[in-house]
Every structure is written in C-alpha cells, then in structure tokens.
Symmetry: C2
Subunit: 631 residues, 2 copies
Amino acid sequence: MAYSEIKISAYKPEGFLKSYTELVRKKMLPYQYRVMKDDEGCEKSGVFSNFINAAKVLKGEKAGPFYGMVFQDSDAGKWIEAVGYSLALSSDKQLEDKTDELIDLIANAQDKDGYLDTYFTISNKEKRWTNLLEAHELYCAGHLIEGACAYYEATGKDKLLSVVVKNALHIYDKFITEKKEGYPGHPEIELALLKLYRITGEEKFLELSKHFIDVRGADREYYKKEKESRNWSVWGNNAEDNYYQQSHAPVREQTDAVGHAVRAVYLYTAMADLSAETGDNSLYDACKRLWRSIVDKKLYITGGIGSVFQGESFSADYHLPSDTAYSETCAAIGLMFFAQRMLKNEVKGEYGDVMEQAFYNTVLSGIELTGKAFYYANPLEAVPGISGCTATHWHDKITRPGWHACACCPPNAARTISSIGKYAYGENNDTVFCHLYAAGEVNFSNGISLSCKTEYPYSADVDYKIKGNGILAVRIPHWSKNTTVYKNNSPISPEIKEGYAYIKASDNDEIRLCLDMTPRIVYPSEKLYNLSGKGAICKGPLVYCFEGVDNNGKVLNAFIDGNSSIEAEDFDIPLSTGTKRLKIKGYIRKTAEGLYSDKKPEIIPAELYAIPYFLWANRGENQMRVWMDIR
Amino acid sequence: MAYSEIKISAYKPEGFLKSYTELVRKKMLPYQYRVMKDDEGCEKSGVFSNFINAAKVLKGEKAGPFYGMVFQDSDAGKWIEAVGYSLALSSDKQLEDKTDELIDLIANAQDKDGYLDTYFTISNKEKRWTNLLEAHELYCAGHLIEGACAYYEATGKDKLLSVVVKNALHIYDKFITEKKEGYPGHPEIELALLKLYRITGEEKFLELSKHFIDVRGADREYYKKEKESRNWSVWGNNAEDNYYQQSHAPVREQTDAVGHAVRAVYLYTAMADLSAETGDNSLYDACKRLWRSIVDKKLYITGGIGSVFQGESFSADYHLPSDTAYSETCAAIGLMFFAQRMLKNEVKGEYGDVMEQAFYNTVLSGIELTGKAFYYANPLEAVPGISGCTATHWHDKITRPGWHACACCPPNAARTISSIGKYAYGENNDTVFCHLYAAGEVNFSNGISLSCKTEYPYSADVDYKIKGNGILAVRIPHWSKNTTVYKNNSPISPEIKEGYAYIKASDNDEIRLCLDMTPRIVYPSEKLYNLSGKGAICKGPLVYCFEGVDNNGKVLNAFIDGNSSIEAEDFDIPLSTGTKRLKIKGYIRKTAEGLYSDKKPEIIPAELYAIPYFLWANRGENQMRVWMDIR
C-alpha cells in the first residue's frame, strides 16, 4: 500500500470545504432525516417505516407494507455514514440522538440469525438470497456496514457495528461455509467488507470480499440459472446482459468500463482497494486497464461518467452527449472512490486530478446550494422546454428536484463531502500526502501536523505550515502549467515524481504552493464527434458554464472568441461564497425567422459570463451550456 | 376541392423518377414478395403463411401459428398497392400473376361475415374488436382497401375490391349500425375509406371515415375503458397516453402535432382529404394549425418528422437531434400524403415544397440503391462505433438492413414511389397542376396532355410541351430565388399566386421553367439549440451530406468556409445516375492526443465533397453529417 488513509477525525476543514461539510451537517442531513421519516412534503421515502415494520414482523406483530425501492435500506446506511463523518468534524447532539434512534430501529429489524433487509423481512422471507441479480440484499448490507464503520469511528458507539458484524458473518456462512453460488448484482459489499475488516481485524471479511470479487463473471451463466430457478422478479432485469452488471468476464480479464456506471466503479473501487491491501498485481493491472478505459474514452470534462440514461450506463467509447448526459452524481462519487483506491496502489497525479475533477464539478453539481434539492443526472447543456420535458431528456431536469424515488444520490453526496479529508490527505511513516488542496488542520497518526490555508478552488495559492519533520507530498495538477513552490518564502525545486512534489520539511516550515490558475480553453478530442469546434472554459479544477441568467437569457446561440482574454471577477451567487465568474468576449447569433433560412445569422458582439458548473441551476430555469463554439 | 388527382395510369415517368419506379417494379417488389413468402434469408415475414393459416382455420383444417407483428397483414396491402401503381406504368405479367396468387390467399382468409385479419382469425377469434388501441385491425383493413383500390384501378380486376368492400361493410355494421364505441389506435382506415368511397361511390364509406374522424378524442377515456374491459394486451400500451395516438382532444380542437408521427400524419391526411371532399372548414382549419406546428417547429431539413425513437414520435418543439434522429421513412411518406391532401384544399407552394422536400430526401433515403435494403430511421449524422451500437442509437443504423421485424417502411416506400404521378400532377376543368417537376408524359382527363423533359432534381430546367388548351399551374419552389418562365422561347411573366405560376397555354405551346438551383447554405433557427453555428448545403430540393468515403474518411471534425463558392460536378455512385456532387472549401480540425487538451486544434485546409443526402450509406460504413460547422 502506497499510503494509509487518515483517521476521519484527523482533518478539520476550513474555507470552501467547510462551507460544504457544514451544509451537509446543518442542512442536508436534517433534511434527509425528515425525508426518511416521511416528514417532508417531497417524494415519500419510507426508510424509517420499513425498519419499524420489519421489527414488528419479527416480533409477530401486525405490520404495514414495505415502501419504496428494494434497496431502500441503503439510504439509512449512507445517511448514518455521513452523520459519522460529520460528528467527527463537529459534535452535534441532535444529529447523534436522531442517529441512535435510527440505529435502534435497525437493530430491532435484524433477524435472529443476523439477516437484515427490510424488503425481505417484511413480506418476502422465503425469497431471501434467491435474486442476487436484482434484489440488492448484499448492496444494502454493504451500505449498513459502511455506515456502522463511520459511526463507530466517530463516536466509539458499537451498536450498529455489532449488528453489521453479525449480518456479515451470516453472509459469510451463507456464501463461504454453505458455499452458496453467486455474487452481488450491484457491487458494494466488497468495498464495505474491506472497511469492516480493517476496523475489526476479522479475516473472514477480507476473505468474503475477495470471494465476491474472484467469483464475479467466472460463471457467466450464474444469473441466468438464478432467474430460471426463481419464480419472482423485482423489475424483470435481463439476466443475460452480463455487461450491465460487469459479470461478462472474470474481473481480472475485464478491459473496458461497461454497464451500469455506479456498479462498475463500486466494483473497480473494491478491486483497487483489495489489490492495495493484498498486493495482488493481477487485480491492479485490471484496475489500470479499466481506469484507462474510463479516462481515455468515457469521461466527461466535468468528471462525470455513465453517459446514457438507458441502464444508467457507460455508452460506446467517445459517446459523451451534453444535453442528454446521464452523468449520475453517484457515478462521479464512485469515480472518486476508485481514484482514491488507485492512489493507495500508486501515488500518481492523474488519480488525484480525476478525483478532484469529479468532486468539484459533478459531485458538487448534484447539490442545490440550499442543501434541499439534488441532481441525479448532471447534463452539460440545459434547454428550457426540452430538458426534463421530452422522452430523451426526462432524466435531465432543468432544476434540482427535492427528492427522488430512487434516492441514492443525496445521501451519497453527503457522506462523500463529509469525509473529504480521506480524499484530501494520506500518510506514511515519514510522508504526508496532499491529494486535494484542503484548507484546515490535519493531525496525522505519524506525528506530523499540517495547517493549510487556501481559498482554493477560487484562488491558486496554498499555504502549508508543518509541525514535525517529514516529507510533504503535494500533487501538482496537470492543468497548472507553471507551478512554483516556496519553503519559508524562498522558491525551491522539489523532486517531482508522477505528478507529486516531494518536499522535505522540518518543524514550523512554511510551504507555499503557487499553482497556475490562468483561465483556459479546453478542447475536446476530434473523437468526440458532437463537440467538434467547441471548447470549455476552465480555471484550475473548475469547469465553467454559461447560464442564461448571466447572459440576457440566451447562451445556446452564443459563441466565444478563442483569442479573447478571460477575466475573473468576484461574483455573488446567493448562498455561495467566494465565487469568481469569468468574462470573455463573444458573440450572439441572431437568426432569421422560420425554422430554416438562406439568410446568414447576424453576429452581435457580447460580453459573455461564465460561472463554475457546479453552481448552475441555483437561480431558476435557464439555458446552460458547458461546451461553447469557439471562433 | 381545389383540383382532382390524376388517374394512376395517366402519368408515364421518364428520367430520374423512372429509375425509381423501375427499381420498385423490377427489384423492390420481387424482393419484398420473396421476403413475404419467407424465401429470402433476411428477417422472417410470415405474411403469406399467415393468410394460408387463416384460410385453413376457416375451413376447420389444422393450421400453423400466426407469425410476426399484429399488423403483419398490412404489408400485403401496401405491396399490392405498389404493384397496382406499377402495373399502371408498365405491364408485368410475372408480378401480376404473383399478386393474383396473393389475392386468392387473402380472399380465402376472409370470414363469412366479411371479417378479415389473420392475427385474430388464426387464433384469437374471441378477441376481435376488443383492442382498438393496439391490435391494428382497422389499420390492416385500411391498407388492404388501399391495395384493392390501386389494383382495381390498374387492372380492372375486382376480386380484392369485393373482399375489402365486404370487410368495410362489416366494419360499417359494427361501428355505425351496431354503434360499437371507439376509433382506431393507428389511423389509416379513414383515408383508405375515402379512396374506397371515390371508387365505389358507396356513401357508407364516406360516412364511416367521417365517423372515425369525428369521434376521435371526443371520449378521451375510451381507450382506458377498453383496456379495463379486456384481459389481454399486445404490448401493454399505456391507454392513458392520449397524445401518443392523437386522442387527447377532438380532432377539430387539436393544435400541436404530437405522439406517434406516422399515426399523426395518417390522421391529418384523412382530415385534410375529408375537408377537401366535403368542404368542412373547421376540419381544414385544424389541418392548417397542425401543418404549421409541423412545418414551423418539428420538421427536419430533410423533410423528416418524428424526431425521437421513444414512441416513434414527435418530440418537444424545436427538438430535432441529428445523430439520434428517428425521422422514420413512413413518417416522411405520411407527410407527403398530408401535403398532397392539403394541396387538394388549397394550391399553395408551401404544401408542394414540403411534399418535395420529404420525397427527395427522407423517402428516398429509406431505400438502398440495390432496392434490397431499407432504412426505418433516417439520421442526419452517422458515427461508426456509435450509430447502431449504443442504447441511444440502436435505431440509427450505419447501413440499411435487408428487412425489419416491423416492416412498414419498405412496401410503404414502394407504393409511394410507384404512385408519384398522383403527387406530381393534378387537374381541373381547364387547369393542369405541376406540383413536382416530373419528366414523362401525362394525359389528363380534361383532355390536356403534357410532355415534360427535365433532368430534375439534378438540373434546373424543366420543359413542358402541351397538347390542348388550358392553364398550366406550376409550383415555383421557395428556394428558387430567380425563376424565369419561357413560352415558345420568349420569357413571360405569368401570374404568380401562392407560390404557383399560372400560365395560359395553347396546343403545342412549349413552356420552359428555369429554376435557380445555385447551391446554397441553409441556416437553422437559433431555436434549434443543437445546430447553432451550423449550416446545411442544399441545391434545389436536395439536401446534401458529407460522407467519409468522399472525404478521406473523416467529416465529423470538418467545417466549411461559409464564403466559399460551391461547385457542382458530375459524380458516379454505383447504381445511381446523373448524380452531381458539390465541392466546397473547408477545413479539418486535427486535435491533440487525449480526450481533452489545452492545445488548440490544428486547422488543415481541405476540399470537401458533398453528395445528395438520399444517396448516403450506399458505399459501406461511413461517417456522415448533414449539418456542418460554418466559419
């Protein structure tokens, strides 16, 4: 393993990241709690009532029906995980009490043998483990494990940890001792078991994680046989579409990122984590191939993946539509996971770059600044009257809905933001790793402490003050063409290896990183056939977009002057702070009447204004475009 | 009625149109005959076997199962119709014998009471008339009526006519005498009954057509009630999606072209035909609104309509994607029908313009030059590796398949091409109408004859020689900016009314029309958000496209110089004749390695070559693009 994760309480954020961790703790988590209790007026959730009803069934009492998606329990797991991380950053009695209440409900919903899944406990007991393809039992178990681990780490309370250990041992008995065939339709438990293994030291959890990874795709007929041997279905999933659930080949033989994007990156995350944990090079080689498939052929400039609604999945190579993009928030989150686990195998700038790209653009785009509305899909182009309004665009909404029938994304974003320290920092015996530029204080287990001051991502300077002696390994992003490093105000030339600067530092040293955040135009490969002639404006890690509200209503008929200078200026978007917008010379095309005309469009000069993509759709319904014609 | 259709034998084509009517008679119809008999190696059809099996069932013999779509019989109707028109142009004993053989099979498949539909006769007798929403009984009846009318007109043989008259009277009894509620899920019989009325003079058929039009959408709950009262379904269609089948409002109140595009234009065709027949202005007003909805907001430059695969339907206003276009061949054919019936209400250039636009671009694009492969969907952009290869693009194939499970388009194209005279010409007491520039001889019922010589659509001159005295009303297309008309070699200035020149002519007069066919760039409205900055090259009625095979393999990364002159040059495409290709100055963008780059693309000058859109995909798998960046 190249380095270890920091403890979740080791990093206390400041600045931009703190504004988001506080949004999670103060707004998103209380809101999501009310949603899960069905106390908000939005789309019903049923998470609480499901646990209550399952407990009643176990006690032989009269119970209400199961509500929602078959994987509804997972929302609780992700929410508790986010609470855990949040409590590690800041105590919050109310939130902790609410969580303990929910944990009691979960514990009561666990069957004597350790089984825990409300969909099956409420009314489908006889169907347990008969539909790994669709029924998400192992997926829900994984999310409860992740929640339990985080909550235990943050609070020391082990009630939920005991519950998930019992459930994990039950699953171990089923799949290892009893040798039940099969593997999860939706990967998740594999990566969760690795966390549980690290927390408990129980080797069985490592063994079970490795088992699910090893058997996946080895028997390509498994789901087909499973379907033939059961007489029920959740959605009628095609059991022979092995690509959808990444069971088309044993994982070590997989080469292309395919199928349901979240399933894919959750699987790749577990594979990379296991390879870092065990030094399994054949697994890491597969991860590297899958990484290249994503990064070279299937990655939106916003760090989004999974470009089509159908199957929420990866499309053909180089098929990255803007207006119909799926680019699910959860898939970008999963890509961060994958990148972070790749870093644990090898500290390489590209992994950190992509992790940052996904976070600052698509993950944050998933959240309205109110903390109470969320994107599932994150298009790169929005067209009022078409986006959200027609068959090809139902999934791409013009503003964020308050909740979703499939509510995977909101709590997923919450847990990712509140654990941002695990992505930002890492450590070794004598080295501390700074993958993201994250303002705040970090206390590493190796005795080193860092204080980081920066207005990143809006400003290019990052100041570290170190306590203790060691090496500071700081990522130099690919987009910074001209980076200078100062130690105690003198420029230095540290060793640069694979995109990281390795700086030897002693107690009280001050290290300053000056990145080159000149706004730039990024051009797409000619293989992206839909983007020929276009470019995107970026500044540092941020992709910018043009929104109607800043541009007299219209941006879809605009183009920009590729030789114009791009100026950054302070800009106020309500509920946001420190935002810079970019001003660039451009033009508006005014076309003749009628659908088609022989008349050349009139070209009208205009100052065009771009805002960071993640802030779009916070000011009503608007045209929006990332990729602009460049002339 | 503004004018009457010519008789189907009145026009004998020459030149370009003859090459297509001959392709239909010599290649397409024999090929489709073998397909319907399951004698070709492509997708199975089952049309013949279905009629044979239905006859067996009626005789109480052991019969095989029904094969194919519930509307499989309609292929026979359309094929016979195409044969009828073809025989009117040229005798063909073989084809006539084959048709008589098929007609015998159809006659044997008719039940004693007149009922005729193999799907229900073979094995679902008790379900007759219980599922108008999905089961296409009235649709199939309509196509057999159209086939019978054409075959009777061409050959005088009335066997099939008697069969369909008996069936139509059976339907009349059901819906008028017995007052069965409901109306066809897929309009078609309405327009067919009007043809049958004109041939037989039977007022019941006019009454029944009017009935189906009048009751449509009056009871918006009809399909819902129907679904509730039956216990079977063909596809599980949503009975409450009234927009899909244009039952959301009484037809006279409909304003926007919505839902399944073919259903829509077949309905509008019948409405316009009925209004021309009866002078029903409220119906014509609705037709005019629906026409505007299509032409102003939902029409591809290629004359295609119905832009999305989902529901094969119209999308939101101004949503006309290029690479995922549905633009079904049948929908463009239906738009020709609608335009032709609008012309029967009022002779206006726009109707003729759109009819021509749909024909020369999308209808002909539906057919490979071999006559043995067909497009269902007609995209305006093709991307090897993506088109036909991924979820959003399954329907947009990179080359034409030999047949389709739903085989509506191939015989539909055949019947439309072979009856092109009915679209090209019309007549009044003293006037002959030339809607299309159609080389050949025309003998009108009013005693006038025309001889037309032209190499249209490749050449701009059209020469008419008239026999008899009267008025020649010739459309002047909107794209001809500079049209001159000569009478006996002297320029004249005829009266121009609503886009038609009205030229008084006497016996032996020679009228020459010189259109302005200068190649031009057509610019899309800024409302077409996906086309901003683009333009299409057109020449006369033809939209051109750029195909890889003529441009070193790559056109998707090219752009054209909007100020460059466009030169036409003769060009040979195998199996095509008289083609001109266009040469235009342009550039290729060569981009840096990687998916994204800060490096500006290199711009490499290139001569670019465009061919008529309808000829694309006749030379293997290629990139193709209609809308090109214009700089």
